[in-house]
Symmetry: C2
Subunit: 358 residues, 2 copies
DNA sequence: TTGTACGCGTTATCAA
DNA sequence: TTGATAACGCGTACAA
């Protein structure tokens, strides 16, 4: 059951069927109808592989993403999915959890085009790889990562971190901890560095000395955040507020605070980064990234590049601080334990009361 | 840069190159090495589409899943991804959010094999569709759904629901609400019905009359769960415990309890279904499904079917009740408001104390 | 064990 | 506006 069958059934040549299939302009309406009827009658659907082979286009986008089950990536993925299907593209998922996998996907996969383009999320991409993409004529867009040779969509991590810490300072905090993420292999390369820069800039702007003891770099996980917080909170001179490099880590910080009997926000203020769904649920103050929008824009730029080569471009997306109830003005020392807040003010208890989200 | 270039470079015919590429037995080690060297030297990677066209195999698995961002599906997806890559298969994601999309993917997509097999998750599949798959010789495995003509992986939803409700009864509850999920179009067809059956069976087994007022069917979302709980909890005679058809809905129930000032588990016990990551985090008692395992098994059965046709089989996976801290023995009436629990016993506060997970 | 020729189902290019 | 025909790159009989 192929294009010849349809042609025969409709009494035309295969060229005409192909034109109808691809919505080519030059075909008489009457003929088109006849072909269409034959197609419907035979339940004919073109063969994808043959089509790819002939046209050099697969209408498939490759998506290289680390740890795709993590909320941040899921949200980006969602934006990608919506945009891709809207434009008639399919999406194949390459999950990266090891450096080997990363190298494999970024080196082998592009060589012969099973995909029309590649979206690389949160993965560092070196010059030689970028150069190879160019040589192969494989359109690539980076999301949450940067390379001068490739179109890159980044959020302003420095500014986001700075805003978060400046907000804490404005609340009266001076002892501000930072639970950063680690740079594992080639993952999340600039992210950790940039958020660190933002943290230090904010401190410097207010002439607060930088204290390396108040910084820890952990896995980008709940357990990591928890461990990081444990280190900071057991110091003789502990931070009164902690900025975490991701919401997931912030979650771990909250758990650790809970475990040590510290109330949030009275005894410890917490700010996360990302604004995943859970952040809203737990009323976590956080730096919001436009994750859906990033996915969508990435697809659109990639498709543009597939249509015709574009000069590499770096797009900076804005972040916004979302005020929720894990932050509050610094309580006067030694009074915090009996502050004005209700005794039931756990994280969950406050959630219905203090909503300043805007 | 194709197989001919490699052949020329190695001084052999393309047949030999092909044999090397596909690990065919009959090739002299010396020749193999020469070909391999040429492949490496030219950075040659075979063209996927051409390969598919020639062999009739794409090494791609289609994954049709509704609302893939929801935790249950993500977990299944994760299992699928691991198994698929382990076997050298790629994975293309078809997200379904409307009946139109469902029909499209289940009717058009299979017609001409871009994929070697299809995994359909939580979607009802009717006889005619199953029949069509058979006619097309397209291997299909159903996950969390059932059709007699197709290999189906299901969990025992009836038993799971029954276990949950029986547990509540064993704790002394007699007024047990049920926040079920709706059957939207062709989504989650049997699931809602089966969990309802389990609920009613448990009641019947203990001679507790079924009270339709204590049942509501909502969206499978947090907002849905919340709305369902609102209906039940505002009744003059309100339930003392609520069983929710999914963890996500249970979350909504928790929120609503919180909003009405009901303490969990003293004033209201809650059991969910699925055991998503969040359930552990919030210490929600729930019925656990082996989500990763389902994804993995599904892939393995699908691959087996791709190798050679198998008779349809229904595999029942076990569920297990996970005891956490949103359930407790029913407090004596009128005492619950001043029970022995600490005043700070919100959901979060209890989480470190009452852990009976096994 | 190796090389050759053909087929897979399209798209694209021409000439009509 | 249409039909014939040559790619597309590989797998695979079949012949050597």
């Amino acid at each position: 059951m192929n294009i010849y069958d349809v042609a025969k059934q409709a009494g035309v040549g295969i060229g005409t069927v192909s034109r109808v299939l691809n919505g080519s302009a030059k075909v008489k309406p009457e003929t088109r109808e006849r072909v269409q009827a034959a197609i419907n009658q035979l339940d004919y659907v073109p063969h994808g592989a043959a089509r790819s082979l002939g046209s050099g286009r697969s209408h498939v986008l490759g998506l290289v993403v680390p740890f795709f089950t993590r909320p941040f990536f899921i949200e980006v993925l969602r934006g990608v999915e919506m945009a891709a299907t809207a434009h008639g593209y399919e999406m194949v998922l390459y999950n990266v959890e090891t450096t080997t996998q990363r190298d494999h996907y970024l080196r082998q996969l592009p060589m012969r085009r099973r995909v029309d383009g590649l979206l690389v999320v949160s993965l560092f991409c070196d010059e030689s790889e970028a150069e190879r993409f160019r040589k192969m004529n494989l359109p690539v867009v980076l999301v949450d990562s940067y390379n001068p040779l490739l179109t890159s969509l980044v959020v302003d991590n420095i500014s986001g971190a700075r805003q978060a810490v400046e907000y804490l300072i404005s609340l009266g905090h001076r002892q501000i901890g930072f639970v950063n993420g680690v740079k594992v292999g080639s993952f999340n390369f600039n992210k950790a560095d940039d958020r660190m820069s933002g943290y230090r800039q904010a401190l410097a702007n207010s002439d607060i000395p930088y204290n390396p003891e108040w910084v820890s770099a952990t896995e980008w996980t709940r357990a990591g955040g928890r461990e990081g917080a444990r280190q900071l909170l057991l110091l003789p001179q502990r931070p009164t507020a902690i900025f975490a490099a991701s919401d997931v880590q912030a979650l771990g910080v909250m758990e650790q605070a809970q475990a040590q009997g510290l109330r949030v926000p009275q005894d410890l203020c917490i700010i996360g980064f990302d604004n995943i769904e859970l952040a809203e649920l737990l009323n976590l103050t956080t730096v919001a990234q436009p994750m859906h929008e990033m996915g969508k824009q990435a697809v659109e730029r990639l498709l543009a590049e597939i249509e015709c080569p574009q000069p590499p471009q770096t797009v900076m997306m804005d972040v916004t601080l979302v005020h929720r109830s894990t932050t509050a003005p610094l309580a006067a020392p030694n009074v915090s334990a009996f502050s004005t807040a209700s005794v039931r003010d756990g994280v969950w208890a406050t959630q219905q009361n203090i909503i300043t989200e805007g």
